[in-house]
């Protein structure tokens, strides 16, 4: 529950003892492997510092639900809010309100966010995208069409990955074309599955897919596998082993990319 301070929000005071601080990390959506893994990191942070740090999020990756979650959080006045935005733009007003009330705001995967105290990026996003497409190109034998998925068209980091990949392909693999603008999966495996079926029907010669959200490759691979095209089509992208394992095993996913640095893993 909220703090027991009689007057004013706890968020107004940054000199609290660590037991009185409360950090909440708002992710794109809850219940998917990727953010479960992130929650592990939040827990380790809480264990290590004694700060009440938790993670929350909406039940799907829609920008407005994320706004709602943060608005509700502001009413509870935590010390700091961490956000992995679905749409940096649509969060600006809300994050401004949070900061106006003295709440610290830190984002992740949102290099263009304005109303924040800090943004955390893991690495150079365009270079990461280029690396994925390099692998994809070699799997496709250096030529052919591919399509790229992002969680949300408004998700800055995902867009940087696919743009970095496209620029790399244009510069280094003239035989490789991307067929359409990035496709939105709404961070939902079944949406990725449906869109892939549509793409395969519209572009029968597709040879490659790049996924961005953790479940994109799973949805793509399921559609590819059902169409009996596992051997002809290359599927690659960001994901985690627990989600991609069975498709990696049956060959419908060719390669996944991820980063992961929870303390427990290093021990």
């Amino acid at each position: 529950g909220s703090g027991t301070v009689a007057q004013g929000p706890p968020g107004g005071d940054r000199n609290l003892a660590s037991e009185d601080m409360r950090f909440v990390n708002v992710v794109k959506l809850v219940g998917v492997g990727w953010f479960d893994r992130m929650e592990l990191g939040v827990q380790e942070f809480a264990d290590g510092t004694g700060i009440d740090a938790t993670q929350t999020g909406a039940d799907d990756a829609s920008p407005e639900k994320q706004v709602k979650v943060i608005q509700d959080l502001i009413a509870q006045r935590p010390t700091a809010i961490g956000v992995v935005p679905n749409s940096p733009e649509s969060l600006e007003a809300t994050l401004k309100r949070a900061r106006d009330q003295g709440i610290l705001v830190v984002t992740h995967e949102a290099s263009n966010q304005q109303n924040i105290d800090a943004d955390v990026e893991a690495f150079d996003n365009k270079a990461y995208g280029a690396q994925i497409v390099e692998s994809l190109a070699s799997c496709m034998g250096g030529s052919g069409q591919y399509a790229a998925f992002v969680g949300n068209l408004t998700a800055k980091t995902h867009m940087e990955w696919v743009e970095g990949g496209l620029e790399y392909a244009q510069a280094n693999h003239p035989g490789i074309q991307r067929v359409v603008d990035p496709i939105e999966s709404k961070e939902d495996e079944s949406v990725a599955y449906e869109r892939t079926k549509e793409l395969l029907a519209t572009y029968p010669d597709l040879k490659g897919f790049q996924g961005s959200a953790g479940t994109d490759v799973a949805g793509i691979a399921r559609a590819v596998q059902e169409a009996g095209l596992a051997d002809r089509v290359c599927v690659m992208g960001t994901s985690i082993p627990s989600v991609a394992k069975k498709y990696l095993e049956d060959g419908s996913i060719d390669k996944i990319f991820f980063w992961d640095r929870p303390r427990r893993a290093r021990r």
Binding site: G1, P63, V67, E89
Partner: protein, 341 residues
Amino acid sequence: MNRWVNRLRGRNNEGVLALTILVVVTAMTLVNPDFFTVSTLFGILRNSLVETVFALGVLIVIISGGIDVSFPVIGIFAGYTTIVIAQGGGSDPGVLGALLVAVVIGSLLGLVNGGLIARFGLPTLIVTLGTQGVFRGVLLAYIGSKYIAELPASIAQLSTTDLFVVQQGPVAARLHVFVVPVVLLCLAVHWLLQRTMFGRGVYALGSDAESARRAGFPVARLQLAIYALVGLLAGIAGIAHVTLSRNANPYELAGTELDIIAAVVLGGASILGGRGSVLGTVLGVVLIAVIKNSLILMGVPGTWQRAAVGVLLVAGVSIQALGARRKAARRRAVELEEARA
């Protein structure tokens, strides 16, 4: 004494709803003194604005014995298209201009529903289920599917215009100016339903369509007007939603139809038609908002909010049903006594 209790309870259990709201607020305030603040009150009101406008439309349809599941799509269609037009036109249409455009679009879409229902006598659920898909398809395929972050200046300004601001220590409680038109709209719909031929026709239609026809009500015209009106209200709600969320997203609202129908039914409207009131509807919307807000402040996870609304709905309707049964029994008793006297 009994009569006094009945008066308090109201025709559609409005009293019971008001009492429930009072009990929840009191309980919450006891648990958490922070609850009962101007800021909470304003927050609840703000969260109920768009829902209330939609609910007014749903109320009219439900009283008329129909059901409409296309109104959220009509709302976002009108709201989003208005913004697209404003951007395309280049010049800022102003708040009233935008409202007018949204109202016209909403009414036209509503007329499509009304036309199909009145002309072919089709079940209202089926028609609106169908048009819902059509409207949504047209919106996303023809009007646009992009998230628009920049609203025209006049609307953007309205987004942050407050009726008044109460300073509470470091926090400012803001009451959005939209409260005024929404209250006016509620009064207007109440007046329309209670004091005009059209309103009485809506009740008559919901009570018994064939009798309404025999009584000389122009049933087809009435239906046309009802669904156009629902579209009009949805248009207003749509542009209000866009303004309050400070962006226009064509994927929003769709899927909220059942929640709003639930609020209206909780507010005492009968799904069988012929029964319902504006006061009850507003109380139903507010009760749900209060409960959700309480759950949030208690840190109850968001998923439980749906469950709470579900329990509330079933419990509310059960109480109404049981109450109606008891009342009917009492009524018969009185009559038989008189008949024998």
